[in-house]
């Protein structure tokens, strides 16, 4: 009963929030609506008993990703109204619904068949985060390490791309080059 009420409430809320994100002309509205939608998505994870996933969703998405977007938006001209692609929105909506149905069919096709089998069963007597840890550090250890390396690479890439003059290494430059760079810096500051 309460599960049904929670499900319908949060599904309406998420759908409305994501619809605002996709259709609004103000970038700030889109950002805040997306953050709210992420929080509401985590409610589904809590309903489904995936507590750890819900917490990770809140921390990573609304804590890290949204903060990163908010900082990124300070670089761009976000006060101006966004222009959108002119075209029949009906065709766009129809095409997107069609492709979404196809994607879900791809997901559902193996479920409908009888060959489905549980590969990582829930561990009896363990809480969700305990069983997640047990599976993650045994069966999915190699993907876990790869994800860690990928996050490190992404962090370095983000720093190099967005940082100011961080693509130059002072230790690898000759003395004259450093002098020229410092001269240029001084001119910019003045």
């Amino acid at each position: 009963m309460f599960e049904a009420i929670a499900f319908y409430l949060f599904s309406i809320l998420t759908t409305v929030m994501f619809y605002i994100t996709v259709t609004t002309k103000q970038a700030l509205f889109a950002l805040t609506a997306l953050a709210a939608g992420m929080i509401f998505i985590s409610a589904f994870f809590f309903i489904l008993g995936a507590d750890f996933l819900g917490v990770v969703q809140i921390i990573v998405y609304t804590g890290a990703v949204m903060a990163l977007y908010a900082f990124g938006m300070m670089f761009f001209d976000t006060t101006r109204e966004l222009k959108e692609r002119s075209g029949s929105s009906l065709i766009t909506a129809g095409l997107s619904i069609l492709s979404a149905v196809f994607v879900v069919l791809i997901f559902v096709a193996p479920i409908v068949s009888t060959k489905i089998q549980v590969t990582a069963p829930l561990i009896a007597g363990a809480t969700n985060s305990q069983s997640v840890g047990m599976v993650l550090f045994t069966k999915y250890l190699v993907p876990f390490e790869l994800a860690a390396v990928m996050l490190l690479v992404a962090m370095i890439a983000g720093i190099v791309l967005a940082g100011k003059k961080m693509d130059r290494s002072l230790t690898l430059m000759a003395e004259e080059e450093i002098m020229i760079a410092e001269e240029a810096n001084r001119k910019v500051l003045l």
Binding site: A30, Y61, A162
Partner: protein, 102 residues
């Protein structure tokens, strides 16, 4: 109606995914396109968590974790590229990025 099953969650996942695809198709601003891709990733995560719950299998949750990790690194690299592009060209409009057109 009152009993929430796997179908409910898959339908919700479809709805959210089609909203995301709508955004991908009609947005011109690259930052807004990034928002739409986040919606796509979240829609898939809901489906994974629901399947994981209804089949008593943790694999779906594992894949959801890896999707979250991929989304985080995608945002870091993508925003860096966007800032680099904006510094050089002054806009992040998708239609203006046609320097490789023949």
């Amino acid at each position: 109606m009152m009993e929430i099953g796997l179908t409910h969650y898959l339908v919700l996942s479809t709805v959210l995914f089609s909203i995301g695809l709508l955004g991908v198709m009609r947005r011109k601003n690259l930052l807004m396109l990034f928002f739409a891709t986040e919606i796509l990733l979240n829609a898939v995560n809901v489906g994974f968590a629901a399947i994981s719950h209804y089949y008593n299998d943790l694999t779906g949750q594992m894949f959801a974790f890896f999707i979250i990790a991929i989304a985080a690194s995608e945002v870091a690299v993508g925003l860096g590229l966007l800032i680099a592009w904006y510094k050089r060209h002054g806009n992040i409009n998708l239609d203006a990025m046609s320097s490789m057109r023949g």
